[in-house]
């Protein structure tokens, strides 16, 4: 299981390396002179490419972040084992649900 966590985290890292460059550049550009809901939604509403990109982004983050936290908690605290893994699985689910909800929210509104 642990080797799979490692592989999943590194593979999603490659995906995120690309996605984050795109995201940071987009955000920096979009934020010029202030950001309103109308600005965001005008770009994202009905935009399939956008929804697909951010959907993949959300899934990658939901895998990558909890595995990273797992390393930190295991090394810097005494918490480890099943309870930690289960808690982080819930965190992954939280990120997935909130993230996909956000993508749908700006795609569909």
């Amino acid at each position: 299981m642990n080797a799979r966590f490692f592989a999943a985290q590194r593979i999603t890292a490659f995906v995120l390396a690309l996605a984050v460059v795109v995201h940071l550049t987009t955000i920096i550009y979009a934020v010029r002179g202030g950001l309103t809901a109308a600005d965001i939604l005008a770009r994202t509403h009905g935009n399939v490419g956008f929804a697909l990109f951010y959907g993949v982004f959300v899934v990658a983050v939901a895998i990558h972040a909890p595995i990273g936290l797992r390393n930190v908690v295991r090394e810097w605290s005494t918490w480890h084992g099943r309870t930690l893994d289960t808690t982080l699985a819930f965190f992954a689910l939280l990120l997935l649900i909130l993230g996909l909800r956000a993508v749908l929210a700006v795609f569909g509104s």
Partner: protein, 115 residues
């Protein structure tokens, strides 16, 4: 500080780790905020209005920097682990730092800081 802790690799690893923790805390909030658009543009706007304060904008710049730090230092790791990169010089870390500063600066400027 121990000698091993004064090494560049250790500092890079700590920055990478701390920025990762900051992002992990920030992301659920970020997703939740965007999700308020489900209730329409007005709901998202009122949320965004909260972020127009200097403290919030300062935090936003912090998060953008955290993301840039985590990404560039993460790319260093991927290069060493998977692209056979042999790196133990200041050069690569300087490039990472420069990239981070560029991202952070452009974000801050675009937000309207620095007149």
């Amino acid at each position: 500080m121990r000698a091993s802790q004064r090494q560049r690799g250790f500092i890079a690893a700590i920055l990478h780790r701390l920025s990762g923790i900051a992002l992990a805390i920030f992301l659920p909030v970020h997703f939740f905020a965007l999700g308020t658009a489900l209730e329409g543009a007005k709901a998202l706007d009122s949320f965004l209005a909260l972020t127009r304060r200097p403290l919030a904008e300062f935090a936003e710049i912090g998060i953008v920097i955290a993301l840039a730090v985590h990404m560039t230092l993460g790319m260093r790791i991927l290069a060493i682990e998977f692209l056979g990169f042999r790196e133990n010089t200041l050069a690569l870390l300087s490039v990472c730092a420069a990239a981070v500063c560029a991202f952070g600066l452009f974000f801050a400027l675009n937000l309207g800081w620095a007149g």
